[in-house]
Symmetry: C2
Subunit: 184 residues, 2 copies
Amino acid sequence: MSLKYALLGFLNYQSCSGYDLKQLMDVSTSNFWHAKQSQIYTTLKKMEKDGLILSHVQSQESHPDRRVYQIVEAGKAYLGEWLAQPLITIEARKETLLLKLFFSAQISPQKILTELRIQRNLHQANLDKYQTTTKDVISQFSASPDMADDGQLWEATRRFGELYEEMFICWLDETIEVVKGWEV
Amino acid sequence: MSLKYALLGFLNYQSCSGYDLKQLMDVSTSNFWHAKQSQIYTTLKKMEKDGLILSHVQSQESHPDRRVYQIVEAGKAYLGEWLAQPLITIEARKETLLLKLFFSAQISPQKILTELRIQRNLHQANLDKYQTTTKDVISQFSASPDMADDGQLWEATRRFGELYEEMFICWLDETIEVVKGWEV
DNA sequence: GAATACATGTAAAATGTTACATGATTTT
DNA sequence: AAAATCATGTAACATTTTACATGTATTC
């Protein structure tokens, strides 16, 4: 539902191919929005049919042709309306780890602990990424002065990822201690 | 993908109708897992076809018949395998608010602030719910001594919701201050 | 020589949401 | 009298994932 807004948002900065858009999302919004390459291609096609974007084929010497999409007026208006309308709902999360944990009283504490420790490593790695790679990408893209406001908002979204992972690790440590208590 | 495990998890405690399962999920796992009534009905039907559960119709005096599902051995084994296998990936989040914010440099700071404040209220309400209703439901269900371990895990999932909302509110306050800074 | 990156897509399956349909009972 | 709850479900649609399919160029 919101993927088209994400694509419009990027295309509003500059024209891109589906491939480019996937790369952009992976380094910038993956923390809170993601999509598979195939879904991006099919969504772009649908958006062009709906008159939100336009495409033309660009040939390259040593690589296959690229189909480059550009935003048109209707697309800009569509994006603008969505941005102007405040969001009055909360996203419902799905956390498989918590679902498993909820029903885990029937398996051994050792198995639970192993799982929680694996998750701790994964979340620590994510936290590291937000504090290094993601931070670098944002400063790079917001280097020019006319990108100052954009840069501050991008930083806010990065900060969310950082706080989220810190919170998650904190919760994992708490929960590990609870389950450890059972082993005595 | 995991909805069937959620349903098996509940049915492993006691037999339920699709309606009951929806009610249970809404008061217990809605923090990290949810489903629409219609999806629960269709998934149960598929699970029965796959031999994980069995159903029988129960008539009632003053209400329509209920179809009550019970878990069978194959279902218990299927659930057990899933629980025993540690989760080695991280759930990818989708946060529409962050996606909007990422592209919001083009709209007025006032509009952004309004949206962030609405979200703050919503998250505060969620936090309150986890600290009152959800807490009560968990103590109620884990009252008997043989539910002690289950109760501690349920409490851990509730605690996640609490920490998450606290973190979210903290981030909103931080972000509100950033955007406020632009108005000068 | 093998693997990865570049670049594009289609088809099928799974998952999830919205709308429709029914009808009794209970509450406002 | 109207709305909400109890209770069941189907159909259509939208979204998302997985698998398949192709072929070049670059890196290890």
